[in-house]
């Protein structure tokens, strides 16, 4: 019964989210990389702290694949704390007593910004696969329209990890004059073949579920729960590391004394992954998963600049701070270093550090004191340079 409620609550967020919403009408179409425009469309967002009189203390937070705009508040669907509450809040490294923090749901998402589960105004039905495929650059274009709407010319900083980091890099490339400092964390300037491969496995799992119904499951009253759950399970492995899985679970058995000689979840790690899959399905739309993973696959920043990444940042006055994590094998230190090299070639001001941890890609969401100290130091230095008190 409870589960049903969460699913319904999540479904309700697509059109009528528990967040402020900006609706962009026919006069403000969103130009898409796939060609054509999206219009009308809407963006759901959360803010924390207060915009100062000079409008100079705004920080935009970009979320990752499975994230949303609820970065630092209790999630309206799951009731869980915001995904970056460790980092954002009063007195936290991104201090909402000093900064005005904005977090918006990405284009293609399912928590209130236009995505495949939103109602298509032309048909009155959910878009499903009728929504054009969107890119990271489209997401960022939409965010820039939100920032315009909020009356902010220049952001103090744009911060994000993983897919959020891709958006951060896109911000620096597309709107260098509109952002003073950027923090791309655990990310890459292009999605690797291995990462595209993992995403393809996830998408195929969704599409192989008969309840996916060619993407029309919402209209037909089904839900590709098993497919999406498998996709999430596979992806979740890539967010951790061999050593963190070993430390957390080892070969320990789940509530039993011996092997059952069946395909039940004998091992704790199996039970954990099943739980992760189930919990994700309750709150996330399967088609959104297809759209957002696709946006990451298409991301290749250098590709838009003649194949030379440094050209994306040419003449940039923006300050950069890149962070990678030693055990992250999804977005490796080598990926971050490639960006650093390009930034050096472009003469940009860069900080870069690798944090030692065994927690894998998910480290950027976890309690990593060194990462927090670096974030605080970098953001506060940017604020001093801009003259934010």
């Amino acid at each position: 019964m409870l589960e049903r409620t969460i699913v319904e609550a999540a479904r309700g967020e697509a059109d009528q989210p528990h967040s402020p919403v900006v609706r962009f009408g026919a006069d403000k179409p969103l130009k898409l990389d796939a060609g054509g425009v999206l219009s009308p469309f809407q963006i759901a967002y959360q803010t924390y702290g207060t915009l100062n009189a000079a409008r100079s203390n705004a920080i935009l937070i970009c979320h990752a694949l499975s994230g949303d705009q609820h970065a630092a508040n209790v999630h309206p669907v799951t009731g869980k704390p915001g995904w970056w509450e460790t980092l954002i809040g009063p007195g936290k490294p991104i201090d909402t007593d000093r900064y005005f923090v904005i977090a918006s749901n990405v284009l293609g998402g399912c928590l209130g910004t236009t995505g495949p589960s939103s109602t298509n105004p032309e048909t009155g039905q959910p878009y499903g696969l009728d929504l054009p495929v969107v890119t990271i650059r489209d997401m960022v274009r939409a965010q820039a329209m939100l920032i315009d709407h909020l009356g902010i010319d220049r952001l103090l900083a744009v911060v994000g990890g993983s897919m959020g980091g891709m958006q951060v890099l896109q911000w620096a490339a597309s709107y260098p004059e509109r952002v003073f400092a950027v923090m791309p964390i655990a990310t890459a300037a292009r999605h690797s073949a291995q990462n595209i491969a993992f995403h393809e496995v996830g998408r195929q799992a969704v599409m192989a579920d008969p309840d996916w119904r060619g993407g029309r499951y919402l209209a037909e009253g089904t839900s590709p729960r098993r497919g999406l759950s498998v996709a999430r399970m596979a992806a979740h492995i890539t967010y951790m590391s061999d050593s963190s899985l070993h430390r957390k679970f080892g070969r320990r058995l789940q509530d039993r004394d011996g092997h059952t000689f069946s395909f039940d979840a004998d091992f704790q790690v199996e039970s954990y992954l099943r739980h992760q899959g189930e919990a994700f399905v309750d709150r996330f739309d399967a088609n959104s998963y297809l759209y957002v993973t696709r946006a990451m696959d298409y991301f290749d920043l250098a590709g838009d600049y003649g194949g030379v990444l440094a050209n994306a940042f040419k003449g940039a006055k923006t300050r950069f701070c890149l962070v990678s994590f030693t055990s992250d094998w999804l977005f490796t230190t080598a990926d971050s270093r490639a960006i650093v090299h390009a930034l050096n070639a472009a003469g940009a001001q860069v900080s870069f550090t690798e944090i030692e941890t065994d927690k894998g890609h998910d480290s950027f969401l976890l309690d990593e004191p060194e990462f927090f100290a670096i974030t605080r130091g970098f953001i506060d230095a940017a604020a001093r340079a801009v003259g934010v008190n």
Binding site: R319, N344, I374, A381
Partner: protein, 227 residues
């Protein structure tokens, strides 16, 4: 653990190539003050082997420089970035290749050249990336080093360089005279040179290299490309 071992442990933890050099009146390292005085105000500076950014901070606050750093040790980088300084975790022996020509007015290598694998390559890169290079290093021709080797017959180890030969980041020591030869070899010219005595103070008098080589515990050179 003996006091000496404790010092060694701490040094290793911080991955510093030298023990804290002598400090001046405001607690600033004298060699760093000397270097910062060689830098024209408002310059673009790259500090190679910047540690936790002490020199970067000095250059930014007292000389109004756009000063950036590269540092090998994660601890050094993290401490510096947490203070808002632009430092990149990287290896001078490799990463200098990525910088374009003439990207900086000065490229500084303070107390680090002896820890690089390819000192000549590093010096060449510095002079390519920057219009000028500033290099400070411990002088192995210092009389105490020579005496130590002569009397004890062991690899010298001083207050500033307490490592043992088999466990040291310092793999390419040189003397002032050796360094002058290298400058010649890479086609650079010496604009200014200073030797620091054991207390960290400049050897005032202008003396022949051979004498500086004997009296200087450290040396600081300001170099530029020839012609």
């Amino acid at each position: 653990m003996s006091p000496r071992d404790l010092v060694l442990e701490e040094l290793k933890a911080n991955d510093l190539t030298m023990r804290e050099a002598a400090r001046g009146e405001q607690g600033k390292r004298i060699d760093l003050l000397l270097i910062s005085q060689m830098v024209k105000p408002g310059s673009r500076v790259l500090d190679v082997g910047s540690g936790d950014g002490e020199l970067l901070e000095l250059l930014a606050t007292t000389r109004g420089c756009d000063a950036r750093g590269i540092e090998l040790s994660r601890e050094g980088v993290n401490a510096g970035v947490a203070r808002g300084l632009p430092i990149i975790q990287g290896d001078a022996d490799v990463d200098l290749a990525d910088y374009p020509d003439n990207a900086f007015d000065y490229v500084i290598l303070s107390q680090t050249i002896q820890a690089t694998r390819r000192p000549k390559w590093v010096l060449e890169q510095m002079l390519r990336i920057g219009a000028r290079a500033i290099v400070s290093f411990p002088n192995f021709g210092f009389w105490r080093m020579r005496l130590d080797l002569l009397i004890n017959g062991r690899m010298p180890s001083t207050e500033n360089l307490p490592y043992r030969w088999h466990d040291t980041p310092n793999i390419h020591f040189c003397t002032i005279r050796d360094f002058v030869d290298l400058v010649e070899e890479v086609g650079a010219q010496i604009e200014k040179a200073t030797a620091l005595d054991a207390s960290g103070h400049p050897v005032r008098v202008n003396l022949p290299w051979a004498v500086w080589n004997l009296l200087g515990e450290q040396a600081v050179f300001l170099l530029s490309r020839k012609g």
